[in-house]
């Protein structure tokens, strides 16, 4: 492999192979598509788990336990390949029902698996912090005449999300790395591009090292962004 062939692969690794969007662009798309619904679902799950009625809390806890105790790869296989086992799904595909057709789309399945997976981890983290929310602040909220829902919305959530920023940073790095599994369901993200280059050339170092370098850059960029947010929202924890 000479330098020119390596340079020719760069656009494919970054945005497109000429026909489709590939590489970094797909990784970024998967990450962004998963991060917003994942965070929202995590907040809802955490609130339900800590402040919801007991049966709801139990349900959320067991669902979250499933997603945290099994490999994401298996979850993805369950969604993308597993669902075809059921007649409802097969029937939906035959009748072109838009809802079931979604489960044939690799991007949708990968995003769904990532959302469910990351929300389980983040919810556990947020729930852990909500449990230790200072009692005095809660009482102060009551003294102001706030309802339970208002206290959760105005006091608990902002405080928890702020204090959770350093831990969330870790989870977001894990989510970024987890997007690499999308390559197992035919998607051409950074890892997918590297694997297809390997399959075509049987030269492992260039494609996988390029992929590794791209992920490193993304990871450091993510950590840098989080350090900015910490400076902004956790300014009160800094010693002057």
């Amino acid at each position: 492999m000479n330098l020119q062939t390596i340079l020719d692969t760069v656009p494919t690794f970054l945005w497109s192979d000429g026909n489709d969007v590939t590489g970094l662009a797909v990784t970024a798309k998967l990450f962004l598509l998963s991060v917003v619904p994942g965070m929202m679902l995590a907040v809802i799950m955490a609130v339900g788990q800590v402040y919801g009625p007991r049966p709801l809390a139990m349900l959320i806890r067991s669902v979250s336990y499933f997603f945290r105790s099994t490999p994401l790869y298996l979850q993805l296989m369950l969604i993308y390949y597993g669902l075809s086992q059921f007649d409802v799904v097969q029937l939906g595909w035959q009748n072109d029902q838009p809802f079931w057709l979604l489960f044939r789309d690799a991007t949708f399945c990968a995003t769904l698996a990532l959302v469910l997976n990351t929300s389980a981890y983040v919810a556990e983290l947020l729930a852990g912090m909500m449990v230790t929310f200072p009692r005095q602040e809660w009482v102060a909220g009551e003294a102001f005449g706030m309802s339970r829902a208002q206290i959760i919305r105005r006091l608990v959530l902002p405080a928890t999300l702020r204090r959770g920023i350093p831990a969330l940073n870790n989870e977001m790095v894990f989510l970024l790395h987890a997007t690499s599994l999308a390559s197992t369901v035919t998607l051409l993200d950074i890892t997918g591009v590297a694997r297809s280059f390997y399959a075509a050339t049987y030269s492992p170092f260039i494609p996988f090292l390029l992929a590794a370098a791209l992920y490193l850059v993304c990871t450091f960029a993510l950590i840098f962004l989080f350090s900015l947010t910490e400076r902004r929202w956790l300014a009160f924890t800094r010693r002057s």
Binding site: Y65, F66, R68, S69, T70, P71, L72, Y73, L74, Q75, M77, L78, Y81, G82, L83, S84, Q85, F86, V173, L176, H177, A178, T179, S180, L181, S183, T184, I190, T191, A194, R195, Y198, P204, F205, F208, L209, A211, A212, Y215, L216, T219, F220
Partner: protein, 230 residues
């Protein structure tokens, strides 16, 4: 029909468990060595360890595994070729274990480094004053106290390692995930088999959670500071 596949799946589960446990041993050893190097090693070695942990933790496991799995064999054979020795073929099992152990060694380095730092400096000086040599200080004073702090991290990383081991099926090792895929195809019941395998992972998670909480209670006895925590 499903029953017919159970012995095969259990056999696969045994293989998966072997991969996990051997990789765990490798990762623990790598982590311990690197943590000690990071804290007490000469600057150039410390620099190397930092590079290892930073790089490995910044790249997805799957990419590192693919790189080591496909690149490792080529690298070794290239080296052997220079020495005039014929090419060797890497065993899938061994490469899987080495790749996972290598990745999680980096995570364990950070766990152990953090735990070593919680050991009271004064106790180390006291141990030296008693005339213990560095090996004894490490074995008698540092290791038992550090373990009580490291146990939650050891459990977390072990669970991560266990889940990452499912990826060896992508490399072609016939572990339980790979077998579940085949069985699911043959019987057209992929959900059922993937779900059965998921249950095995859940059982392992639950069992190790229980075991580690017992270990944590046991090791809390050795530590002057951790005792209040448990």
């Amino acid at each position: 029909m499903v029953i017919d596949y159970l012995p095969l799946l259990l056999q696969g589960a045994g293989l998966s468990l072997c991969v996990m446990l051997l990789a765990l041993v490798l990762a623990l050893i790598l982590g311990l060595i690197n943590a000690v190097v990071k804290l007490f090693g000469p600057p150039w070695l410390r620099w190397l360890s930092t590079g290892y942990t930073t790089l490995v933790r910044g790249i997805p496991e799957l990419v590192i595994m693919l790189l080591l799995f496909f690149g490792g064999e080529m690298l070794v054979n290239g080296f052997l070729g220079l020495l005039g020795i014929g090419p060797v073929h890497f065993n899938t099992f061994l490469s899987g274990v080495l790749a996972i152990g290598f990745v999680f060694g980096a995570y364990y380095t950070e766990t152990f480094r953090g735990a070593f730092q919680t050991v009271d400096q004064g106790q180390l000086e006291a141990a030296v004053a008693y005339g213990m040599h560095p090996g004894q200080v490490f074995r008698r004073v540092m290791l038992p106290q550090m373990l009580s702090f490291a146990i939650p991290g050891i459990n977390n990383n072990w669970l991560g390692l266990m889940k990452a081991s499912a990826l060896v099926s992508i490399l072609g090792l016939e572990d339980m995930v790979w077998l579940a895929e085949q069985a699911g195809r043959a019987t057209q019941k992929p959900f059922l088999f993937y779900f059965l395998i998921s249950l095995i992972y859940m059982v392992i998670t639950a069992l190790s959670g229980w075991m580690f909480s017992r270990l944590a209670r046991r090791y809390a006895l050795y530590s002057s500071t951790a005792r209040d925590t448990y």
